[in-house]
């Protein structure tokens, strides 16, 4: 498109002695402005992308790789020496029931948050896709929780889910149910933490689904309408199947975030601290990482944990990539 701007030969590899070009380049009579332009065209693109790549290498990639390196050592914070221990941190980690517990909790909280969240988001999007008055106001309304800071949100919900004076338990009491120990019971604590996640993200995801709904060509709906399909029928036979790629995309991207959940469980119970409850009933992987690395100062062990989680996220991201590509290609084939 912009080949005429750049004058860089588009073929691969350096052409063997392009005499004319060399000539003009080294010609002393060539005005300095032209030479400057040539340099500009050739090197400026690299200067434009350099800040991103250099900074990303230093602050993004290098720390991740170095985490892998640290994980091979018995590296205590403040220790004078840190002996090389090979894969010992990993074998210890895989035998550590607290780690498996944290992994299980993370996945449990993720499932409890993503499934109801996705269903609600699709239904909400369907409601928002009607001919509402003051559309933008409604869309802003459902997005409201998204602006709450995670810390503020976690603190407010920790109060709402309080065991003795919490609003939710007094509501349960009013309707004649027995109060729930939201902090102590492992399943109840997962439900409570998943509720925070759902509260914050459902509206956001509903807007993404709504955008996908509006991208469905009108003609498809019109054809179904002519054939006599009602609104409900059209929702299940047209809208939902065509939303599949979007839904899969949202679920998998939220997996990547969900696996790293930290703030909500960290602040869920002021007395629980980084242990995630007295028997670690809601400790997540990153919370355990924080406890091992920055409270027990066992940096090698925490690094091994980070590296395992990193690999899990990579696998899921790769699955995401191939899955969406496959969906896209089958969509074209149809």
């Amino acid at each position: 498109m912009t080949a005429d701007l750049t004058e860089v030969p588009s073929g691969r590899g350096v052409e063997p002695r392009p005499p004319v070009r060399r000539d003009t380049q080294e010609h002393p009579a060539l005005p300095w402005r032209d030479r400057l332009t040539r340099l500009d065209v050739k090197f400026t693109p690299y200067l434009f992308i350099a800040p991103f790549f250099v900074l990303f290498a230093v602050i993004g990639l290098f720390p991740l790789l170095y985490t892998g390196y640290v994980s091979l050592f018995d590296w205590e914070l403040g220790g004078d020496e840190h002996p090389f221990v090979g894969l010992e941190n990993y074998t210890a980690l895989l035998a550590d029931s607290q780690f498996w517990n944290a992994m299980f909790n993370t996945i449990s909280i993720f499932v409890l948050s993503s499934v109801p969240q996705m269903i609600t988001a699709v239904l909400l999007a369907a409601l928002l896709n009607t001919a509402l008055r003051a559309r933008t106001a409604w869309r802003m309304g459902v997005l409201l929780p998204y602006v709450a800071s995670l810390v503020a949100l976690a603190i407010i919900f920790s109060n709402l889910f309080g065991k003795q004076y919490g609003l939710i338990n007094s509501f349960l009491d009013t309707v004649g149910l027995s109060p729930v120990d939201w902090q102590g019971n492992w399943f109840a604590s997962h439900v409570a933490i998943a509720t925070m996640v759902n509260w914050r993200w459902t509206g956001y995801n509903a807007l993404i689904v709504l955008a996908a709904m509006q991208a469905i060509p009108r003609e498809v709906h019109e054809a179904a309408l002519v054939d006599g399909a009602g609104a409900v029928r059209r929702f299940f036979s047209i809208t939902l199947p065509l939303l599949r790629p979007t839904i899969i995309f949202v679920v998998i991207t939220s997996t990547i975030g969900g696996l790293q959940i930290f703030t909500e469980p960290k602040l869920f119970d002021p007395a629980g601290g980084s242990g995630g409850g007295f028997s670690h009933q809601y400790q997540t992987v990153v919370l355990y990482l924080y406890q091992a690395g920055f409270q027990d100062f066992d940096l090698g062990y925490a690094s091994a944990m980070a590296w395992i989680l990193f690999l899990v996220v990579l696998v899921i991201a790769a699955a995401n990539f191939f899955l969406t590509r496959r969906i896209a290609s089958t969509g074209e084939a149809e």
């Binding site: 800040p51 602050i59 991740l64």
Partner: protein, 294 residues
């Protein structure tokens, strides 16, 4: 309804919207409005609850909490300011998020422009690299970052919070996608003809044209940075925190006075809510646009 389906295929632009509204989009009845109102009330309730508790004193939970605010909010607010360095933390958060936002938007636009409009050796491969790193959880690199900050003596400074967030792969991806369509090649060529260097072309042609996307990226970056908790908690001192770390400090301990703590969360939330009232329309548009493009 049947009359509309037999409408001629050539739609006049003026009537298109009307058509769509009356046939394909259902007229919402009171049930739809009712559900939406209930949902939004549920969304707003925790904010209101936070303010409600904050407007009473520490004994608010001994009886039923009334649903009408009391008169104790400002007393609690002044206790918040006494207990944590609230204003300092707020200022720190503004400095951190502001710096990160400017940096991310600037560097993302530069790189996005190069990837979208300039031809250079290796551009395809490098762009693939950017896309591949979109999913990389850089948050998991906190341990070496912590060691490095201790080594450089940066621990406890705002620079330690700013530095690891100066660029994002998402920003480059987002800006590239937008610039490809939004900046006409003819415009760039014309600027080049007039003797603009690439940098001036970027500054005078590209940047003005991508202002909406840059603003969206700015809003999202600012919010993300504002909410960041794990890394500031690790690297900052409680005496010189960001607002999120300060709030956490307010809550920790075995006895929690929620009228105090929730006064803190309310005070930290009000500025964000005000920004949302002003920019909410653009945020909604940005999310929906990103969904279709991404």
């Amino acid at each position: 309804m049947t009359a509309l389906t037999t409408a001629p295929p050539v739609r006049r632009p003026g009537r298109g919207k009307k058509l769509k509204a009356s046939t394909l989009l259902e007229r919402p009845n009171f049930v739809v409005y009712g559900i939406l109102i209930a949902f939004i009330l549920g969304s707003a309730f925790p904010f209101y609850w936070s303010f409600l508790v904050a407007s009473y004193d520490a004994n608010v939970f001994t009886g039923d909490v009334p649903l009408i605010p009391g008169g104790n909010f400002f007393a609690n607010a002044s206790r918040v300011v006494d207990s944590i360095p609230f204003w300092k933390a707020l200022g720190n958060s503004v400095i951190v998020s502001g710096t990160v936002t400017v940096s991310v938007v600037l560097f993302s636009s530069l790189a996005g422009f190069a990837f979208a409009k300039l031809r250079f050796r290796g551009s395809k491969g490098l762009m693939l690299f950017v896309i591949a790193t979109l999913a990389v959880p850089t948050q998991l690199g906190v341990i070496p970052l912590f060691m490095a900050m201790a080594e450089f003596g940066w621990s406890g400074t705002l620079g330690a919070v700013i530095a690891p967030n100066l660029v994002t792969a998402f920003g480059v991806f987002w800006m590239r996608q937008y610039i490809v369509d939004a900046v006409p090649n003819e415009l760039i060529e014309a600027a080049r003809m007039d003797g603009c260097s690439l940098l001036r072309t970027f500054w005078h042609v590209c940047l003005p044209a991508v202002r909406p996307a840059a603003a969206m990226l700015g809003v999202f970056t600012f919010m993300q940075s504002w909410n960041d908790f794990l890394w500031p908690l690790i690297v900052l001192n409680p005496e010189d925190p960001t607002i999120q770390v300060a709030l956490e400090k307010l809550q920790s301990g075995y006895y929690v006075d929620y009228s105090l703590v929730l006064a803190g969360t309310t005070m930290a939330t009000v500025p964000v809510l005000l920004v949302f009232l002003v920019l909410g329309r653009q945020i909604v548009a940005g999310i929906m646009q990103g969904a279709v493009k991404g």
